[in-house]
């Protein structure tokens, strides 16, 4: 079993998540690992990234000296403009989210469960971040993809039979992409579709609380 640094794990997840993109898609990349996906957009594909604070056409970080306090993404990081970008208010931004105009929403998670329930905004008594735009995004985007490390820092499973933490959304997650596997949420349960080359199906299952269905041999996940 290869031991990867956190940085390598995050890159691996982002690289695989980028394969979910398609030409012409309008996508929302959440904070953290999802933000990295923009670095791995496959050649020949053009997507438009939305920032829910009010921008379509989010570009890469600006060159040193060109950062602008009026130009940030939803993670409050300075970004740049791509040609054809546009700005709008928070109300317009969430109208396009809620209205189903965003093809793909990539988010991080604290927990996901086998019904596609997602928890990512609070740990009662320990951590209060707020849901930000996550509840609207999971309710409105046409596909919700969770990108996260397969287990917690302490090695505890994050893909559960049922979430323990307060929900962000009910039955909203369609795909889970981790540093170990790609898992599809189906009516029958969680289907293990892809596994990274340096691990085994048994290891993925042991790191997952929910039972994984394997109707066909999992493919090797591109890393």
């Amino acid at each position: 079993m290869t031991h990867l640094t956190d940085q390598k794990k995050r890159e691996r997840i982002a690289r695989r998540a980028a394969l979910e993109l398609y030409d012409g898609a309008y996508v929302n990349l959440g904070i953290g690992i999802p933000t990295l996906i923009a670095n791995y957009v496959p050649a020949g594909i053009a997507v438009v990234c939305q920032a829910e604070n009010g921008m379509l056409g989010v570009g890469p970080y600006p060159f040193e000296g060109q950062e602008d306090a009026d130009l940030i993404n939803a993670g409050k990081e300075t970004v740049s403009e791509l040609p054809g970008c546009c700005y709008f208010s928070s109300a317009d931004s969430f109208a396009m989210i809620r209205g189903g105009h965003i093809a793909l929403s990539f988010l991080g998670a604290m927990e996901v469960d086998e019904l596609g329930n997602l928890a990512n905004w609070t740990i009662p008594g320990k951590l209060v971040k707020g849901m930000g735009g996550a509840m609207d995004l999971v309710a409105g985007a046409r596909r919700v993809v969770v990108t996260m490390e397969h287990t917690s820092k302490k090695g505890a499973p994050k893909i559960l039979h049922r979430c323990n933490l307060p929900f962000t959304g009910i039955a909203v997650v369609e795909t889970i992409i981790t540093d170990l596997a790609v898992i599809r949420v189906t009516k029958q349960g969680l289907v293990l579709e892809e596994v990274v080359p340096d691990t085994t199906v048994e290891h993925v299952q042991s790191a997952t609380e929910a039972a994984l269905l394997i109707p066909a041999p999992p493919r090797i996940m591109a890393v």
Binding site: N53, G65, I72, T78, V79, G130, M131, A134, A139
Partner: protein, 233 residues
């Protein structure tokens, strides 16, 4: 018509203790920093604040929190303000956390004369508790009510003395909707111009929504997370 007020201090002089105030901005981007500073200088108390977040420690709404001026807050995110986060974990502060899109739409509804609406955001979660739930096409939606305020503090890039406003880049965020939803909207701008200077086809907030406008005296425009690329050699 001239809605110009001479200073930020004059613009906020009549705000009473216990007022409900909306604050434009996302993080510390596009925040009414001069109006906030003027209000902090007055030390009014018991303010009910409405804003996406509470900025960061030591700047923006964080200054009002630190000065003990805030009685409650309604917003969607608190994660970048350490003081607020610790107050919440110790349960010593009243906060109403709601989804960001629901926040924006409740404010929009208030300004547009719509008392309530149904949204799918938050259905089945703890924010649905106590709310009317109705199914449309087999899917549950929550009834959410319009969110009004006594005052709205908004920040624009340019404005004229009739109150027409133009925002710049992502500093627009919550400012335009908040401008519509308060009894008294106070705008601060980086550049105050005469009527006719701004392109009428490119006005973001029509002047009807703005009651007072000031030329901001000074803009710090801090950056919360400075992320950059190296310039290629």
């Amino acid at each position: 018509m001239n809605k110009t007020v001479t200073s930020a201090a004059a613009a906020v002089a009549d705000i009473p203790n216990g007022a409900t105030i909306m604050f434009g901005g996302f993080g510390i981007c596009g925040i009414p920093e001069n109006l906030i500073a003027a209000l902090v200088a007055r030390r009014v108390t018991g303010i009910h604040t409405i804003g996406n977040d509470m900025g960061i420690d030591g700047f923006g709404l964080g200054l009002m929190l630190e000065a003990g001026m805030i009685a409650s807050h309604t917003g969607s995110y608190v994660g970048d303000n350490k003081l607020l986060e610790s107050l919440l974990v110790s349960r010593s502060f009243t906060i109403n956390l709601i989804p960001q899109g629901t926040l924006a739409e409740r404010i929009r509804a208030a300004g547009a004369g719509i008392p309530a609406f149904y949204t799918p955001a938050g259905a089945g979660t703890q924010i649905a508790e106590g709310k009317e739930i109705r199914e449309f096409n087999g899917r549950p939606y929550l009834l959410e009510h319009a969110l009004h305020a006594d005052f709205a503090f908004v920040k624009a890039w340019r404005g004229d003395r009739m109150g027409n406003l133009v925002y710049r880049k992502t500093a627009r965020n919550f400012n335009p909707v908040m401008a519509t939803a308060a009894r008294v909207t106070i705008a601060e701008v980086e550049e105050l111009v005469e009527p006719g200077v701004l392109d009428p086809d490119a006005i973001h907030t029509p002047g009807i929504y703005v009651h007072r406008i000031i030329q901001g005296e000074r803009y710090e425009k801090r950056i919360e997370r400075r992320t950059v690329r190296k310039v290629p050699a």
